[in-house]
Symmetry: C2
Subunit: 220 residues, 2 copies
Amino acid sequence: MQSYTEENYLKTIYHLAEQTTNVQTNAIAEQMQTKPASVTDMIKKLADKGLVDYIKYQGVTLTETGRNTAIDIVRKHRLWEVFLVDKLNFKWDEVHDVAEELEHIKSVELIERLDEFLGFPKADPHGDPIPDKNGRFAKTQFIKLIELKIGDSGTITGVSQHSSAFLKHLEKLGLTLGKQIEVSDVTDFDGSVEIMLSGKQINISREVAKHILISSNGKN
Amino acid sequence: MQSYTEENYLKTIYHLAEQTTNVQTNAIAEQMQTKPASVTDMIKKLADKGLVDYIKYQGVTLTETGRNTAIDIVRKHRLWEVFLVDKLNFKWDEVHDVAEELEHIKSVELIERLDEFLGFPKADPHGDPIPDKNGRFAKTQFIKLIELKIGDSGTITGVSQHSSAFLKHLEKLGLTLGKQIEVSDVTDFDGSVEIMLSGKQINISREVAKHILISSNGKN
DNA sequence: AAAAATTTTTAGATTTACCTAAAAATAAAC
DNA sequence: GTTTATTTTTAGGTAAATCTAAAAATTTTT
């Protein structure tokens, strides 16, 4: 049994490990809004419990137990997000903080029934895959919008940033999940991207384009 | 803002105050499965925060702020219980522990939307009233089954014990909310009560009869 | 009302998750 | 390959919520 805090560390390490192989102390500290010294303390504790492998000064990796625990928390988080959006009519930019709390409720039965109630969804409101009760989920083959070439097209299937500000911005631009887009131009000056969206030409900044995930459906 | 633990103390004090006027340290300790010394510590803290009035050796009472906070937690607990039973098909004896965790999720928006989603229920699965968002709820006029006289009848509208064992037992006997009963006899020997339930005669122990709440609808 | 029993509080420790400041290890720059 | 910069760890400390054991206050009994 893990504490609320231990669960948050495992989840953070899991997410960081999606991007870099060995997860560094400072990266964890930054992500968790805490100090590196605190991270070192907790890492030792998690290592003692067999949830992470840890070599001093070399960062951490999750053990299988640790990863399973992390995936279970991610599963809960994403199921709750679906609940909040589908059933309680929250918008996709409003769910993160509440799900952050709900993910720690400890009841296997609750989550299985919630999953069923929601119709066993495969993705959360941001397009992130929801692990099944055995922790399995499809590796998603996304490409960042910024990486598309002129003439490439595809469907918006995810975002790699969950901040309310970013999501609200996308909403305003009409860039929501499922929308078809085609890259019509890339500006040399600032790297901003011109795209066709529902027959209209719009311009999005490089920063925005970096965080939109596309399932590509054909090149020029 | 209160901690998880402070919230539990306030809720416990609130419930104890429903039965006795001034709430004693030992009673709180027993209810919360902790030691009297720990209770004293916490009471001081709650008094400093203006949530309880406290005179040494004289027990505590909730201040208005304290009571409002407690009622809000009770509201959340009962709404979550309705959710679990109505939407996720939990049985009435399975919801208490999970609701005990869910009640601490801090989001006003969440609870208002949940309330709406559930159709603004007035009572939880055990018949306990659910305070509205302003903390108001009808004072229920229940009478304990044990207090009925031979020939009295009424409807089961609540229970004063939420243990799974007790609720499962009631379920097995068919003594669920909304059922009509009439007292046909009281046994001198052990105080057990004979009742008519759906045309059948059944015998229930004094202990069980003490914890069934009836809205009386007429005397003999 | 004095003695006994109970209840409550104080005093001093423990555990968890933090912190700051300084030391040690590693990585980067010259 | 030293020096410098960065990262990470250690050492020592704090606050929250708990504990045990002993002291103090209150209540009950005789």
